[in-house]
């Protein structure tokens, strides 16, 4: 009788794309699951140990992690946390001889270099070691320029520099003089996109690709997820499934993502690729070696399918195809504070938010007094709300109602204590989808 597969999932921080409880539930009957948890995360350890055999390790000590994984008898490691992808790639290369993709994950500068070398990107980019190098890059590439940590995630500390004054503000924030070193910072040209899913949507999308391996690179499942327009500068505000983009354009996006993954040697696993929608060729924003955040739950609300189970199956190398059949459209709204805000001064109750049409779940509603700061990125949204609709039109109507309600119900103050509001984002998402074809 064949032994069941053994899989170790590395878990750290609460912002994984699949929570430990869902991982354990999805692994049931599929594999013997073990968790390896960062010793710096006692809360995650408490949860993981109540779900499956769990070991703690110092995640900065890679050899200790390898020993811990080997002690379980597992030959495959996986993760749903972005910052752990390099460690997991390093472990899998030593456990089962996988191609070592460690250098890719958490190194957006390396990704961009490889995409350029493969002829798949024309975007100028460079690591910038200090203020002088940043100004030089901006002069060569031209404004606007995006600056971000090479290993960042969730739009944390991602800056859009449109002019010299923005460079000054960025350097002041970093506490960096012209020749002082910047810590692990990467600059690239801002990519201008087109909102293919309609004027009320973002000029970028994401793609999920499940590649079980076997050398073919063929995906067991691949699909596009639409996005709501960002809040300044790059904070995400929502994901929508299924995509409303025309099928031929979706195929183009997926082919672009697959070519990028092939070019960097990422042929086996679950991948989340962010892409600017632009003609004639879409441009890759970044590649990630894990399932995208929010996506599994959206698929659950829209189809009843468990994407986490397919993800685990894929990590184990099993080619299990899945076709998604959508009963309804699903969306998560990440309602962001204005960029100038520093604190919430009034907030709706969770009950009020739950009563809005189409709302199926409310994860977070930040109470009065919560400190906010745009530089902390997407995950500091003040409300996380899930909603569904029978079709894209109904979902859009419900989103607009909800967004207006939240805009009226939340109030914020800036650093000087003055009430601050922003209407640009609300106006954008309130646009009629019908305008797309006019």
């Amino acid at each position: 009788m064949a032994q069941p597969d053994r899989l170790v999932v590395l878990a750290g921080t609460k912002y994984g794309s699949l929570p430990p409880a869902e991982i354990a539930s999805c692994a049931d009957g599929l594999a013997d699951l073990y968790f390896l948890v960062d010793a710096a995360e006692p809360d995650i350890f408490a949860v993981a140990r109540s779900l499956a055999p769990t070991t703690q390790a110092d995640f900065s000590d890679r050899d200790a992690c390898l020993d811990a994984v080997r002690r379980t008898g597992a030959t495959v490691a996986g993760t749903f946390n972005d910052h752990l992808c390099p460690l997991v790639a390093w472990l899998n290369a030593r456990l089962n001889g996988d191609a070592d993709t460690e250098a890719l994950w958490g190194h957006k500068d390396v990704q961009r270099q490889r995409l350029r070398a493969a002829g798949l990107s024309g975007v100028m980019s460079n690591r910038v070691s200090d203020g002088f190098a940043l100004r030089k890059f901006a002069r060569q590439a031209g404004f606007p320029v995006v600056v971000k940590p090479t290993s960042g995630c969730g739009s944390n500390e991602v800056w859009l520099l449109r002019q010299e004054a923005d460079v000054d503000a960025f350097l002041a924030r970093s506490g960096t003089g012209p020749r002082q070193e910047l810590d692990d910072v990467f600059a690239e040209q801002f990519i201008v996109g087109e909102p293919w899913a309609g004027p009320h949507r973002a000029d970028y999308v994401s793609a999920e690709l499940f590649r079980p391996g076997g050398g073919t690179g063929a995906a067991a499942l691949r699909f596009v997820t639409d996005r709501l327009p960002s809040a300044w500068p790059f904070r995400e505000t929502g994901l929508i499934l299924p995509s409303a983009i025309a099928p031929d354009r979706q195929r183009l996006l997926l082919t672009t993502a697959e070519r990028a993954l092939d070019a960097v040697g990422a042929r086996e696993g679950v991948f989340h690729v962010e892409i600017k929608t632009k003609s004639p060729v879409p441009e890759i924003i970044e590649l990630n070696g894990r399932l995208g955040g929010f996506v599994a739950r959206l698929v659950g609300y829209g189809t009843g399918e468990r994407l986490g189970r397919l993800a685990l199956s894929c990590l184990l190398g099993h080619a299990q195809e899945l076709t998604l059949s959508w009963d309804r459209c699903a969306q998560v709204l990440l309602f962001q504070a204005p960029s100038a805000a520093v604190a919430v001064t009034r907030a709706p109750t969770r009950r009020e938010v739950r009563r809005m049409p189409g709302v199926v779940a409310v994860d977070e509603v930040s109470p009065e007094g919560t400190a906010v700061d745009w530089r902390h990125g997407t995950n500091r949204a003040v409300a996380w709300v899930w909603l569904t609709g029978d079709g894209h039109d109904e979902l859009h109507e419900r989103l607009v109602d909800l967004a207006r309600f939240l805009s009226d119900s939340f109030t914020f103050v800036d650093a000087d204590g003055r009430e601050v509001r922003e209407s640009d984002w609300l106006e954008r998402v309130s646009k009629s989808p019908a305008l797309e074809n006019t």
Binding site: A21, A24, D43, A46, V47, R350, V360, A361
Partner: protein
């Protein structure tokens, strides 16, 4: 323990004022971490310790109350056997 009892527990835990007996704990703001607290509270009130994975699979007050009843029913014959053995 009734579904309403579990719903009230959830409301207290999540500082929420409206949890229906068919609401999923994870859709009204519950997380794996707060589910551990819910498990402790259910054990304190009913004497039944539920595994976290059971809560994940049955996240509604209805489902959790059913689990508590099920565990009690399964435990009852074992308890009777133990008492019988002690008497002998």
């Amino acid at each position: 323990m009734t579904p309403d009892d579990v719903a009230i527990l959830m409301q207290d835990l999540l500082d929420s004022d409206e949890v229906a007996v068919d609401d999923s704990f994870f859709d009204v703001g519950g997380t794996s971490m707060t589910a551990l607290t819910l498990i402790s509270e259910v054990q304190r009130l009913s004497g039944v310790s539920l595994p976290l994975l059971d809560i994940v699979r049955n996240p509604t007050p209805d489902g959790i109350a059913r689990l508590v009843t099920q565990h009690r029913n399964e435990a009852a014959p074992a308890q009777a056997d133990a008492e019988e053995a002690a008497r002998q």
